[in-house]
């Protein structure tokens, strides 16, 4: 690995994910003409918004040297809680904007608290993030099953119809999840690149000791990353609930793995120290497009979808790390 190649390599890590995305687009367009249609793309974008919003938060957590395995079950728990609260409040409040706002407030608050809890256990007790969030993953998953009594929590039908536009509606033909996702990404990118907080995350992930000696409030920054991730899980849930109006123990299954994968495909380093939000977006898009493509074509056995997905994930990263071979 010589420094002489650095400029090229740098370019590859930047262009790599974009290139992988473009290749997917081309393949998609060739396989099925509907692929590039607005309705298909809009579908794909809207449904990748949940993972996307969460993955933006995950980017910060990972950049600061952390990890959060609990996001998927946290989302399920928050969705369950939100539905329960809204259903309970319905007789008193009636269908209206008020109850939707209440539900949203509950989701955001619960997300924030859940994130803070993870963060406090990690920063105050000094336990490995992997263990803390593996534990809370089990806890939230259990809690939602328990709340739902093993079944599914469903939002009252009238309430759901009222709330539904939050997923299906939109502005200028762009649906709300896409808009919210875009806003979160833009804010995330600005924070990551342009603010002291973003710098501090990268510094902590790069070398915690140096950050501490440089008067960075390490514990606080860490805590904020987890709290922000929790909050974003809340935001994602707000978009998720109106879609099907239900939550069960199967909700949010494996979202954590998908979010982490998106972050890493996007070029953020798993061990921390370097992160980029726009890369994460590309990672999310790559992951959702693969699924979409596999559904739009049927030249392989559906049993093998997972294999193709796995191979593409590896390829997408090979593409971007090309220059690193043999290092």
């Amino acid at each position: 690995m010589t420094a002489a190649k650095a400029p090229f390599r740098l370019r590859m890590t930047v262009i790599g994910p974009i290139l992988a995305l473009i290749v997917l687009f081309i393949i998609g367009a060739l396989l099925n003409p509907n692929f590039l249609g607005w309705s298909n793309l809009s579908n794909v974008l809207a449904r990748s918004a949940f993972i996307g919003i969460i993955a933006v938060g995950m980017t910060f957590v990972i950049t600061a040297g952390g990890l959060d395995l609990s996001v998927g079950s946290m989302a399920a728990f928050i969705a369950g809680l939100m539905i329960l609260v809204m259903n309970t409040a319905l007789p008193g409040m009636g269908v209206g904007i008020g109850i939707v706002l209440l539900g949203m407030a509950v989701a955001l608050f619960a997300g924030l608290v859940a994130g803070l809890l993870n963060g406090l256990l990690i920063t105050r007790l000094g336990i490995e993030p992997f263990i803390v969030t593996l534990g809370s993953m089990g806890i939230y998953r259990s809690l939602v099953t328990w709340l739902a009594d093993g079944g599914t929590l469903s939002l009252d039908f009238s309430l759901r119809s009222f709330y539904q536009p939050v997923y299906y509606g939109g502005l200028f033909g762009i649906s709300w999840p896409i808009i919210v996702f875009a806003v979160v990404v833009i804010i995330g990118e600005i924070i990551m690149r342009g603010t002291a907080f973003g710098r501090h995350c990268a510094a902590i992930g790069s070398n915690e000791q140096v950050a501490k000696y440089s008067s960075v409030r390490v514990a606080r920054v860490r805590l904020i990353t987890y709290a922000a991730l929790g909050l974003l899980v809340g935001v994602a849930t707000i978009m998720y609930v109106p879609r099907l109006g239900s939550a069960s123990s199967a909700t949010g299954m494996l979202w954590e793995l998908e979010a982490i994968a998106a972050v890493i495909i996007g070029g953020t380093v798993l061990k921390g120290g370097f992160g980029r939000v726009w890369g994460t977006v590309i990672g999310v898009l790559i992951l959702s497009l693969i699924g979409n493509l596999l559904n739009l074509t049927d030249f392989v056995s559906p049993y093998l979808n997972g294999a193709i997905q796995g191979a593409i994930i590896i390829l997408a990263v090979v593409l971007q790390r090309e220059g690193k071979a043999g290092s």
Partner: protein, 504 residues
């Protein structure tokens, strides 16, 4: 000059580029068995790069490496070592989570059958460390060692490998004088045994003391080479810096002003007890002591980097400091002695490092990049930092890293600055600039603590000197302190009389 036949390792017309930048321009050097060759030059002159090429860690861009007169190209890291060339790196090259013994034998474990022969390795480790008069246990984890002990471990690691050529990149930078003496004794023994030794140091008295041959570099070129006895310290400094060197230390113009820092009964559990002192604006307070006397830990405790108890007043206000940012908010900053693991983010650029500690200054909602760039320009100019602007800090030369660390801490504009080993690895020309700079900071009315293991530095720079031993202050000396007085206090040998020395 040297007899070609007896050269064991040599470079012929070697150049080396990193990206578009060439840092070595056609250099030659020849190492001969049984001789100590000193390589000196300013920070960033290319000494470390040259050594890495000799030891096979980096290939030259052009030119030849000659081993026993024959051209070689080392394909892997192990190859040069297998042929009897070993190197001690300027930056610590130890796996922090491994023990002393594991590090020393890393890659060369002794085996009995398939298994490790631990007793033998432990015994050999003890023996090597004993030769270096280093008393750490072979089972200590390296991350818990002090810098000087780490250096001793590195040296032991190199000594283990029976080498024909030993290359040492600033081995004494983190050592005290007595430890340096031990090291030099080992070097002499190796010389007697016929080893060719190449070493660099910014401490010219050592060079004068031990070198047989001397090569002086400037800006990637060899500017002088020959027998060491043809050069004195003054000549070396002049050749290195390329200008006439005046007095190293500035005048002590200190005008003590208001009380800045009052510390009483400061204790850092396990490291120091009951430390009390005061510091005024405009003053430079030196802190001397042997390695391991707990100076670093005491001041880290003061700045909230370790748990500590005691009473602290800053500008008359009683304060409680549990975290470094609280200290900084009160105007007090600590500049670490350990630039690699505590000071700088090696995988980031200069700009990010420079502004990390004072990021609030550049924060206008968003970070003002242009102001950052301007600050970097300023720092590069003020401290003479050399190196490619876009380079990763880990790729800067050691001395330039130290300068950047200095610039980084000062950017936070602290009123009370605690500088731990300020000139470690800095060339003599820049040292002079740094001393001037410290003095100027004092003259601006800041209060400064300089912790240093270089006795000359403390004496030359400080208005008052505290001496520590076993975590306690054993005495305070005036600006006119002698080395002898400091050593006595540091060693616990009865001083003449404490009252006599603490004149002020």
């Amino acid at each position: 000059m040297g007899d070609l036949v007896t050269e064991v390792l040599a470079l012929r017309d070697v150049s080396r580029s990193f990206g578009p930048i060439e840092v070595l321009h056609g250099v030659d050097i020849a190492l001969r068995p049984g001789r100590v060759h000193a390589l000196i030059g300013e920070n960033g002159a290319g000494k470390s790069t040259m050594m890495k090429i000799l030891a096979g860690y980096q290939p030259p861009t052009s030119g030849d490496v000659l081993l026993d007169g024959a051209q070689v190209g080392f394909a892997s890291m192990g190859e040069a070592e297998a042929r009897g060339i070993s190197m001690i790196h300027q930056e610590f090259n130890l796996a922090e989570q491994l023990t002393v013994e594991q590090n020393i034998f890393l890659g060369r474990e002794m085996k009995r059958g398939l298994l490790l022969d631990k007793p033998a390795m432990r015994a050999r480790t003890r023996e090597l460390l004993a030769r270096l008069e280093c008393r750490v246990s072979p089972d200590r984890v390296v991350s818990s060692l002090s810098n000087s002990d780490k250096q001793m471990v590195e040296i032991a690691k190199a000594l283990l490998r029976d080498t024909r050529v030993l290359i040492m990149d600033e081995p004494t930078a983190v050592l005290t004088r007595s430890e340096t003496a031990i090291l030099l004794r080992q070097v002499r023994a190796l010389r007697e045994a016929g080893t060719a030794v190449l070493f660099t140091s910014h401490k010219l008295e050592e060079v004068e003391e031990i070198a047989d041959d001397l090569t002086i570099m400037r800006d990637g070129r060899v500017v002088w080479t020959g027998a060491a006895d043809r050069m004195n310290q003054h000549g070396m400094a002049t050749a290195m810096v390329g200008r006439e060197m005046s007095d190293l230390f500035p005048d002590k113009t200190g005008q003590p002003g208001d009380m800045a820092l009052e510390v009483s009964g400061l204790s850092v559990p396990g490291h120091s007890r009951d430390v009390s002192f005061t510091l005024r604006r405009g003053e430079v307070l030196g802190v001397a002591g042997l390695i391991g006397s707990g100076r670093t830990e005491t001041f880290e405790g003061l700045c909230g980097l370790r748990p500590a108890t005691g009473e602290v007043r800053i500008f008359g206000q009683p304060v409680r400091i549990d975290h470094p940012w609280q200290a900084q908010a009160r105007g007090m900053c600590y500049l670490t002695e350990d630039r690699k693991t505590r000071g700088l983010l090696l995988t980031k650029g200069m700009r990010e490092n420079l502004t990390l500690q004072a990021l609030a200054k550049f924060d206008r909602g968003l970070i003002d990049r242009r102001a950052e760039e301007a600050a970097l320009d300023q720092a590069i100019a003020d401290f003479g930092i050399r190196g490619h602007r876009g380079a990763l800090v880990g790729n800067l030369s050691g001395g330039n890293q130290q300068k950047l660390l200095f610039a980084k801490t000062l950017l936070a504009d602290p009123q009370i600055i605690i500088i731990d080993e300020p000139t470690r690895g800095i060339d003599i020309g820049t040292k002079q600039q740094m001393y001037d700079f410290i003095r100027r900071l004092a003259a601006e009315g800041r209060a400064i603590v300089v912790i240093s293991s270089e006795m000359q530095e403390v004496i030359g720079l400080a208005d008052r000197i505290l001496v520590m031993r076993h975590g306690r202050i054993t005495g305070e000396l005036g600006a006119d302190a002698t080395e002898d007085a400091i050593v006595r206090l540091a060693m616990g040998v009865a001083p003449l009389s404490p009252e006599q020395e603490t004149a002020q």
